[in-house]
C-alpha cells in the first residue's frame, strides 16, 4: 500500500534560481548531502559497505561526495559509465550488469580493467566465457560477482545450483569469483516492498551458502535498491548499492522509501498556456519522461498545486488537468515538478543546477549522460 497520508503539498520544493531557463533540473544541495549522510550512517551502524549506484546522478561530483562520506566505491550499469568515472579518478567500480562483451566492447572492458579496480556481474556460463576472453593476457585477473534473481525476474540466475554452475565456469576460465549480488527491484511496488527485501536477502544467502559448499570463498554479498536499502542491510548482506536515494523522486516518496526532505531534485518548468480546465508546462516527455508506474497518477508531482495532475506529455508539453475552482498558476509562472523517476530524467540533461543554502546556484555536469552502452 502507498502511504495515503503522503500528499503532494507535503513535498518541500527547493528554491528555484532566478531567471532559470526551463525546463531544467534543480537540486537542493543540503538535501543531497543529507541523503548521502543519512544512508551512510545507516550502513555504518550495520557494518555494511555502501557502494551507491551512479546511474542515478551520473555525476563525478556527486560520486565524490558519496566517497568522501564513506562509500566504499561506486556501482555503474554500463561500460561507458565505468569509463567516465575511471577517467575522473574514481576507480573502485562494480559494473552490476551481466555485460556481454565482444569486439570493441570487449576491448573497452579490457581497458577499464587495466585502468581501474573493476568488478563485473555475470549470470551465464556464456557471459563468463566472453569476460574471460576479453581480459585474456591482462596483468591481473578480473573479479566477478554472480547475479542472483531475487524474484524480480529480470536478470540473474534462477537458483543456487545455477549460481554454482556460473561460478565454476568463471573460475575455470581464470576469473576470480568474489561473491554474489542481487537487485530486489520488485520492491518498486507498494504491495511487494517488504517481501522483495526478504527475498533479496534470502536468495543471496542461499546462493552464497551454495557457493561456499562448492568450495568458493564468498567475500561480497551485495544487495541494492532504494526501497530495500535499509531492510536488506541485514543477515549476511555486506554491501548495499542503492542509487535513487541520493536525489529521491516521487515514486520513492510514495513508496515510503525516503522522507519528504529526501526529494532533493525537481524539474523547473514554465507555464506556457492556460485554459479553463488545464494548464501546460514546457516540460514534456523529453524532460520528465513517460516513466509512470501503474499505481501512480500523473507524470510528476506539483507540490504547489496539489489538486493538479500532469495527465499527458508530448515532447515539449506537459498537460496538467485542473479541478474546477482549484488554485491555478499564472501564465509565465515557473513551477517545480517532482519527477516520478529521477534516473532517466537526469540522463536527458547536460547539467543540473545545484542550489546552496545561501541561494547561490551552479551547474554540475551530468558527466555520464547518454552513456548507455
Amino acid at each position: 500500500m502507498t502511504d495515503t497520508a503522503r500528499r503532494p503539498e507535503m513535498l518541500p520544493v527547493p528554491t528555484l534560481p532566478r531567471d532559470i531557463e526551463t525546463p531544467a533540473v534543480v537540486v537542493d544541495r543540503e538535501r543531497l548531502e543529507d541523503n548521502i549522510r543519512r544512508l551512510q550512517d545507516a550502513m555504518n551502524e550495520r557494518g555494511v559497505a555502501l557502494r551507491p549506484h551512479a546511474k542515478t546522478h551520473k555525476s563525478v561530483r556527486v560520486a565524490g561526495l558519496q566517497l568522501e562520506a564513506g562509500a566504499r566505491g561506486i556501482t555503474v550499469g554500463t561500460i561507458s559509465e565505468a569509463e567516465v568515472f575511471a577517467a575522473a579518478g574514481i576507480t573502485d567500480l562494480f559494473l552490476a550488469y551481466p555485460v556481454w562483451v565482444e569486439g570493441s566492447k570487449a576491448r573497452r572492458l579490457r581497458d577499464v580493467h587495466d585502468a581501474a579496480d573493476l568488478r563485473v556481474g555475470v549470470d551465464s556460463e556464456g557471459g563468463a566465457e566472453r569476460l574471460a576472453a576479453a581480459v585474456a593476457g591482462a596483468r591481473r585477473p578480473l573479479h566477478v560477482l554472480v547475479e542472483i534473481d531475487p524474484g524480480q525476474h529480470r536478470t540473474g540466475v534462477a537458483d543456487p545450483e545455477a549460481a554454482v554452475r556460473v561460478a565454476r565456469a568463471a573460475h575455470e576460465r581464470g576469473l576470480i569469483v568474489d561473491g554474489v549480488f542481487a537487485h530486489g527491484g520488485h520492491s518498486y511496488d507498494p504491495a511487494a516492498r517488504a517481501r522483495a527485501s526478504s527475498e533479496e536477502v534470502a536468495s543471496l544467502e542461499a546462493a552464497a551458502a551454495a557457493l561456499e559448499a562448492g568450495g568458493f570463498e564468498v567475500a561480497t554479498i551485495s544487495a541494492g535498491s532504494t526501497p530495500t536499502m535499509v531492510a536488506s542491510a541485514t543477515g549476511r548482506v555486506n554491501e548495499m548499492r542503492a542509487g535513487t536515494y541520493v536525489l529521491g523522486d516521487r515514486q520513492q516518496w510514495l513508496l515510503g522509501a525516503i522522507p519528504a526532505q529526501g526529494a532533493a531534485a525537481v524539474v523547473a518548468a514554465t507555464v506556457v498556456s492556460v485554459a479553463a480546465d488545464r494548464f501546460v508546462l514546457d516540460a514534456g516527455a523529453k524532460s520528465l519522461t513517460k516513466d509512470r508506474a501503474d499505481w501512480i497518477e500523473g507524470y510528476g508531482g506539483l507540490p504547489r498545486y496539489p489538486d493538479a495532475v500532469i495527465e499527458r506529455l508530448s515532447d515539449y508539453h506537459g498537460v496538467v488537468r485542473l479541478l474546477p475552482g482549484s488554485p491555478r498558476p499564472r501564465l509565465g509562472e515557473v513551477v517545480a515538478v517532482v519527477p516520478n523517476h529521477i534516473c532517466p530524467v537526469i540522463d536527458l540533461f547536460d547539467a543540473f543546477w545545484v542550489v546552496g543554502a545561501d541561494g547561490s546556484s551552479e551547474p554540475w555536469p551530468v558527466d555520464a549522460r547518454g552513456r548507455s552502452s
Copy 2:
C-alpha cells in the same frame, strides 16, 4: 481501430552494422530518403508547402535532405533547436510553440530572430506581449502564427474569437500575424485519427476566416501531425509540419500512418540474459523510453520474434516475455527493436548510425540532442 493485419514480422529490419556497440540507433538510408520523397511528392501534388518538424531527427543532415527534396523550411519546438539549425545555416524556421520569453530566453529569441527568418507560435495575449518585448528595437518585425486548439486540448486558443483577440494583441504590439497553425495530435489514437484530421482542418479554416473578417491577411494555414499529414493537406491548409514520418516508428505503423518500409529506424540491442520464459536486452528505458500508448502492447516491436513482448524496462534492461515454445534468440545475439515513438528515443543518443544500400554505415550526429529549452 488499429490495423490488426499489421503483424510485427511484417516490419522489415534494416541491416545492422557489424560489431555495433549496443544499444544504438540504426537508420536505413534508402528508407529515410523514400520517406522524405514520398511525403514531399504528396504535398507537391496538393500544392501544400512542407515544413517538417525537426524535433524528430534533430539532425542538420536530415534537415538538409528534406530541404533538398523541396521542403519550404523546417519546424522546431524550442528556442535551442532553432539556435542549432540557424547556426548550421538552416534559417527558414517556424518555432511551432507558444514560447514564454523572459530574461535570458528573451535575449536568445532575439538573437535567433536577428540571425534567421524566424516565425513563432502564440496562443495568448500575454505571450504576444512577451514576444513583442523580446524583439523591441529589432531591425525587422517578428512574424507570428496564432495557435488553434483543434480538439487535442493541449495548447492553442479555444475558438475563432480568441484567435482574433490574440492576433489583435500581437498586431497592436508590432508583431506581424502571418496566419494560424494547429497540431491535430489527438490523431495519435486509432479511434480518433480520421476525426482529428477533419477537426484540424475545420478549426484552422474557421480561425482563418475569423481573422480575415477582423481585417487580417492570412498567408499561412499550417497543419501537422504524421497521422494526419496527407488527410489534412486539403481545403485552405497550405503548410504541413509532420515530423515523425521521416524515421517512422511502431506507433505510426500500427496507426496505419506509414507503410512497413516507412519504419526506417531501429534500436539495435544485445541479448544479455536468457531464462525459460523471457530474455533480457541491453536496451532499457534510457534507450527505448517508456513511451507506450495504452492501446499498444509492449515497449517496442521485435520483428524477428513476433510472439515476444517487451514487457518491462529498467534503465538498462528490457525484459522480453516469451510464449512457451516460441523461437528465442541466443545469448549475445543482436536484435532490432522498432521503438514505439522515435522522437524521444533519438534525443537519448549523440548520434545514429546510417546504413547505406551497400552495407556501409556512418554516424550522423544528433545535433540538437537535449535542446529542450
